[in-house]
């Protein structure tokens, strides 16, 4: 919905605008679910498994049930409810067998938190400990224990996924393009490497929390810190066999999500406790430790890439094999696998491509969506690989990237032709490189290097991502005019800090011609009051809801013009409007105000016409298709947002210590609806990416217990960890079907930060890092050619969990 307007012709879009939510957030008035208390509310606590895999022999709740204040205790045996987004594979509470450390086996609701905790502690669970399968490559071995022996009996979304019963493979995504054998045969160089990254935590500052009241007549009210109210309702209704009209989901302010709250979380647990407690509302809030292991994380990845390159440096063939660690349940991980599978090459043209992407069950906390939806992880591999291939063939990595980058006329892995308006990754790469003076050191940098003795290096990494969503993803926006002519916007896309509502407000203001201060976007989301939105994920919110908002504004204006036309005895074609009124274009002094029409226009004689003014905008993704399950062919991408980071780092070669001196990030956002919001996403995502690049990651002991489930040993970046200099820029190649030309950028800022850092470290020192994170020790080990510490699954106490290559499944 780009209408070829130049930036200076737009009054509100493309300009700075205040966020509508800051006043409440800055004063402490914003209410989050963690702040809520309902009359009669009970507090829940869970009993968690200390084992990665064990048979539950016996659970004795007798002692706990007799304790003061206890109103309900639930074990897995009592709840025969399976939940799952794409594969229905998870019980509300473990039943028969626990599949990961930290999994809930029983839960208590009591009058106070202390009473609930004491009772949960008093529940006795007898386990028969079973050998767990921990590393995803080990899970592929023929003799590996099966995490889900009943995989063949589970329901799943057959249009998109292919589980392999009798194995630990929850999904196998395939993509075949061209003829890879021929391509490799013609290649002058073939480079094959393997890369990996561990599971990481989203770390929203507000942990998962919900309050659920299972009322009489099976009417269920849910208040939850979640991203997607309608998905919570839909999955909940499916799991419990309830009509959608019986369930209401409300989402007030949300303290961060990053994908971890995309689907359904602790709501079913609260629900079964409330039902058992006779309908009293039950609140459960995860502790920070529970956030790490009771709730999901980001999947680990092992990615093997084999690339054939011509003598001129053009990629002629690439074989890509991804092994995604789903943990104990499939959740979003199967779709991460699918979405990563069809984007697996990064923003480069691969004429002959072969992708196998596997989602693998293991006995670990399960993987879910996380900002970037797989692209952070696999771009780590792709963009390090581009660097290493360039090095192997003796070409500058930047040139190698530019030579192979997607350009108009290129075909993506799924066969989509890149258009001029798809976006410009070349411009992003070139600008990022320019901003760091790629290629050599400035005199100041040379001087600094001399002073400190730390080596300075510069690296660039590019990125792309399209929203991972069903091809028919839809949303709606409703505008309601208030009595004074101001407008209320209702939508179920949530804004948990990204700033989408600010941009939606600007879009509505622009299309209506009203100042933004006359537009309020209702913050609390409510499935009983808001129109449908699929999910707040995938960087699709601004595009789909923005388009719906434009349509809603046009609908509101049409309805207003219809009333005004009657009142003014004019044809609607001869009317115009400003922020206050609709008037005759030929006689602007003759008009009728929006406020007088807002709830129905009263004529001088008292007759009424019109009725309350509303505008409805419905939008569904256009022209997308399912992918062929054998070849991957199809059209999955609502839009492609391209980008690149340039990074300058200084490294101490003796110790492996390093400091990031500068990051320059450039994205082709189509149009920056609000430059400040784009910058907020750009820097926030970059820092989150830097966190996973430098220090974050799950560390397990050899029995599958998580060793760092808190901020003590899972650090995230602080203000002191900021690069000395941060620059953000946008290229604006309008997306023809995006609102005012915009496309999404919420996730992209986190993608390819790690490889930009890895490339810069390599440039500075020669260290070839292929695993994340890049701790100082990892850099030191790479420089000293020491065996890397593969301690993400630690065997007493440092050991390695590298698995044998022969375990990899053959086509």
């Amino acid at each position: 919905m780009f209408d070829d307007k130049r930036p200076e012709e737009l009054a509100y879009v493309g300009r700075s605008s205040d966020r509508p939510d800051t006043m409440e957030k800055l004063t402490g008035e914003a209410t989050y679910v963690s702040d809520m208390r309902l009359p009669g509310m009970l507090h829940a606590q869970v009993k968690k498994s200390p084992h990665a895999r064990a048979r539950i022999v016996r659970i004795d709740t007798g002692k706990a049930a007799a304790m003061p204040g206890v109103r309900a205790i639930i074990t897995g045996d009592e709840v025969d409810v399976h939940i799952g987004l794409y594969i229905v594979d998870k019980y509300v509470l473990a039943k028969g067998e626990v599949r990961h450390y930290g999994e809930a086996v029983a839960a208590v609701a009591a009058d106070s938190l202390e009473e609930a905790r004491a009772a949960a502690d008093a529940i006795e669970v007898e386990y028969e400990v079973l050998p767990p399968v921990l590393h995803h490559m080990d899970a592929l071995k023929p003799d590996a224990p099966l995490v889900h022996p009943d995989l063949g009996s589970y329901g799943y979304v057959a249009a998109a996924f292919t589980p392999m019963p009798g194995t630990n493979i929850a999904n196998h995504t395939k993509l075949r393009k061209g003829d890879v054998d021929k391509g490799f045969a013609e290649a002058a160089y073939i480079v094959e490497r393997e890369y990996d990254c561990p599971s990481v935590q989203h770390v929203p500052m507000e942990t998962h929390v919900a309050i659920v009241q299972w009322g009489k007549g099976d009417r269920v009210s849910i208040w939850t810190s979640a991203q997607s109210p309608f998905t919570v309702r839909n999955l909940f209704c499916h799991a419990f066999g309830l009509a959608h009209a019986q369930v209401r989901v409300q989402i007030p302010y949300v303290g961060g999500g990053f994908g971890g709250k995309a689907g359904i979380g602790v709501e079913p647990l609260c629900a079964v406790l409330s039902r058992k407690a006779g309908g009293r509302p039950v609140k459960f809030q995860a502790t920070r430790e529970e956030e790490f292991s009771l709730l999901p994380c980001r999947s680990a990845l092992t990615y093997r890439i084999k690339t054939g390159v011509s003598a001129e440096g053009k990629i002629v063939a690439q074989q890509m094999t991804m092994y995604w660690d789903s943990g104990a349940y499939a959740d979003y991980a199967v779709n991460v696998t699918r979405a990563s599978g069809y984007s697996a090459s990064g923003p480069y043209e691969i004429p002959n491509a072969w992708v196998d992407a596997y989602t693998i069950y293991t006995n670990k906390p399960y993987g879910t969506a996380y900002r970037g939806f797989g692209h952070v992880e696999f771009h780590w591999a792709v963009e390090r690989h581009m660097e290493l291939v360039a090095q192997a063939i003796g070409m500058d990595p930047l040139l190698f990237r530019l030579k192979n980058a997607l350009r108009p006329g290129s075909k993506t892995l799924t066969g989509e032709t890149i258009q001029k308006n798809t976006g410009n990754v070349v411009a992003c790469i070139e600008d990022a490189a320019r901003r760091i003076h790629y290629g050599d050191l400035t005199p100041e940098e040379k001087e600094r290097q001399k002073q400190t003795g730390w080596k300075i290096g510069k690296g660039v990494a590019a990125l792309h991502k399209a929203p991972a969503m069903p091809p028919f993803t839809a949303t709606a926006v409703i505008l309601k005019m208030n009595e004074d002519g101001s407008v209320l916007v209702n939508l179920a896309l949530t804004d948990y800090g990204q700033g989408t509502y600010t941009s939606i407000r600007q879009i509505v203001a622009e299309r209506l011609g009203f100042p933004p201060k006359k537009i309020r976007v209702a913050f609390e989301n409510d499935t009983d009051r808001d129109p449908y939105d699929w999910q707040t994920v995938a960087s699709k919110g601004l595009v789909l809801s923005g388009n719906a908002a434009i349509l809603a504004a046009e609908d509101l204006l049409k309805n207003a013009y219809d009333v005004a036309a009657q009142a003014l005895h004019a044809n609607p074609r001869d009317l115009a409007h400003d922020g206050e009124r609709v008037f005759l274009r030929h006689h602007p002094d003759k008009g009728v105000s929006f406020s007088s029409m807002a709830v129905g226009l009263a004529l001088p004689n008292g007759n009424g016409i019109g009725g309350p003014l509303i505008g409805v905008g419905r939008y569904i993704a256009q022209g997308l298709s399912n992918l062929n399950k054998e070849t991957g062919e199809g059209t999955p991408a609502l839009d492609w947002t391209f980008g690149a980071h340039g990074m300058i780092v200084e490294v101490n070669e003796e110790s492996g210590e390093y400091r990031v001196l500068k990051v320059a990030s450039v994205y082709d956002v189509g149009r920056a609806i609000n430059p400040d919001m784009v910058r907020g996403q750009a820097i926030g995502g970059m820092m989150q990416g830097l966190g996973t690049a430098t220090c974050e990651g799950y560390i397990y002991d050899k029995d599958g217990r998580l060793l760092n489930p808190s901020f003590t040993d899972n650090k995230i970046p602080t203000a002191k960890d900021l690069p000395l200099e941060v620059e953000c820029a946008v290229v604006e190649t309008p997306q023809i079907d995006g609102p005012y030309g915009a496309r999404g950028v919420g996730e992209h800022s986190m993608i390819s930060v790690a490889p930009a850092l890895g490339n810069a470290i390599q440039k500075a020192t020669g260290a070839e890092l292929t695993h994340m994170p890049m701790r100082f020790e990892d850099v030191w080990r790479a420089l000293e050619n020491r065996e890397p510490i593969d301690n993400w699954i630690t065997k007493s106490p440092v050991g390695s969990c590298r698995s044998a290559p022969e375990a990899r499944p053959k086509e």
Binding site: R19, L26, T27, K720
Partner: protein
Amino acid sequence: MKITLTVNGDRYERECAEHHTLLRFIRETLGLTGTKEGCGMGECGACTVIMNGRAVNSCMVLAAEADGAVIQTIEGEAKGPTLSDIQASFERNHAVQCGFCTPGMVMSVKELLASDPHPSVDAIKEAVEGNFCRCTGYTQIVEAVTELTGTGAKGGLDHV
């Protein structure tokens, strides 16, 4: 036990459970829920309040220890219906995203500016080092302080 303390200028005399933290007392007993809990371990700073002039993690202070103390929370920051200078600068500089770290962040900045009205960028980073923010990447928070104190400008997005 009974404790007496002043919070945001209001004097309270209340019974408190001896094992309750100051954070829990403020949120549950006084109903001031602007102060948040992010970890309960003193690592993340979401629970930061000002106690006797010093920014502290209220999750690691017992309510009983605050007997006689003067406390400020985020609820006491705005001047009547208008935002304080710090809050207004956070708003102007888009230093708020999800908002969960914001109350603690503002309290840390407040203590900093009370002792150092023109802090260096390094001093600002050090003052908020104990306040995790997962959304903003901190830059706009630092800019909110430097713009307020006249040592820096609002950051911008370049158009290529």
